[in-house]
């Protein structure tokens, strides 16, 4: 069982307009404002701040899909392999100073959550045997 994370009480003064929008979002997603705020802070600290430094930008999925459709599978995989050797290491070193498999997978999970990529993770018989499943329309 995962150990419960230690928390500490902190008070913030927030622009009312922003707070109202956050309350609306928490109602819509049926989560408390506290859960939503923690999710925003965690996502910033664990992924977004490092991604920004590493050169990530937001572009529409359709844009990426359109560009990738100009390549055949072999060319597309070559691009993916090249970038997969550069960016994960850069991200891990900014976030945690070292590049290990565990830290890389952890950063990827934050990236997928932040990118709304639904995934399921199964840890098999031993902790070192894992299965990730992703599905979309």
């Amino acid at each position: 069982m995962e150990k419960k994370k230690e928390t500490e009480l902190s008070t913030f003064r927030i622009n009312k307009e922003i707070l109202d929008k956050l309350k609306m979002e928490s109602n819509k997603n049926k989560v408390s404002l506290n859960v939503l705020a923690n999710h925003i802070f965690e996502s910033h600290v664990e992924f977004r701040s490092a991604a920004q430094i590493a050169g990530f930008v937001y572009v529409p999925k359709k844009w990426v899909t359109e560009i990738l459709s100009r390549y055949n599978v072999k060319e597309s995989r070559e691009i993916a392999r090249k970038l997969s050797l550069e960016y994960p290491e850069a991200i891990c070193k900014i976030l945690r100073t070292t590049f290990t498999v565990e830290e890389h997978l952890n950063a990827l999970e934050y990236w997928m959550a932040d990118s709304h990529i639904d995934y399921k993770k199964e840890v098999k018989d031993s902790k070192s045997n894992m299965h990730y499943i992703m599905k979309w329309e």
């Binding site: 999925k61 990426v64 899909t65 990738l68 459709s69 390549y71 599978v73 597309s76 995989r77 691009i79 993916a80 392999r81 970038l83 997969s84 050797l85 994960p88 290491e89 590049f99 290990t100 498999v101 565990e102 890389h104 997978l105 990827l108 990529i117 031993s126 070192s128 045997n129 894992m130 299965h131 990730y132 499943i133 992703m134 599905k135 979309w136 329309e137």
Partner: protein, 41 residues
């Protein structure tokens, strides 16, 4: 989102993990699903 998009994500797992562990990462990719099996030891 297409097979090329699926491979971009699959390689984000496969390439770095294989480089770090020297173990083969098994991937099964279609245009709408990705299955990835990793062995870290």
């Amino acid at each position: 989102m297409g097979i090329n998009w699926s491979w971009q994500i699959a390689e984000l797992f496969k390439t770095p993990v294989e480089s770090l562990t020297k173990n083969e990462v098994k991937v099964d990719v279609t245009d709408s699903t990705i299955n990835i099996e990793l062995e870290l030891d």
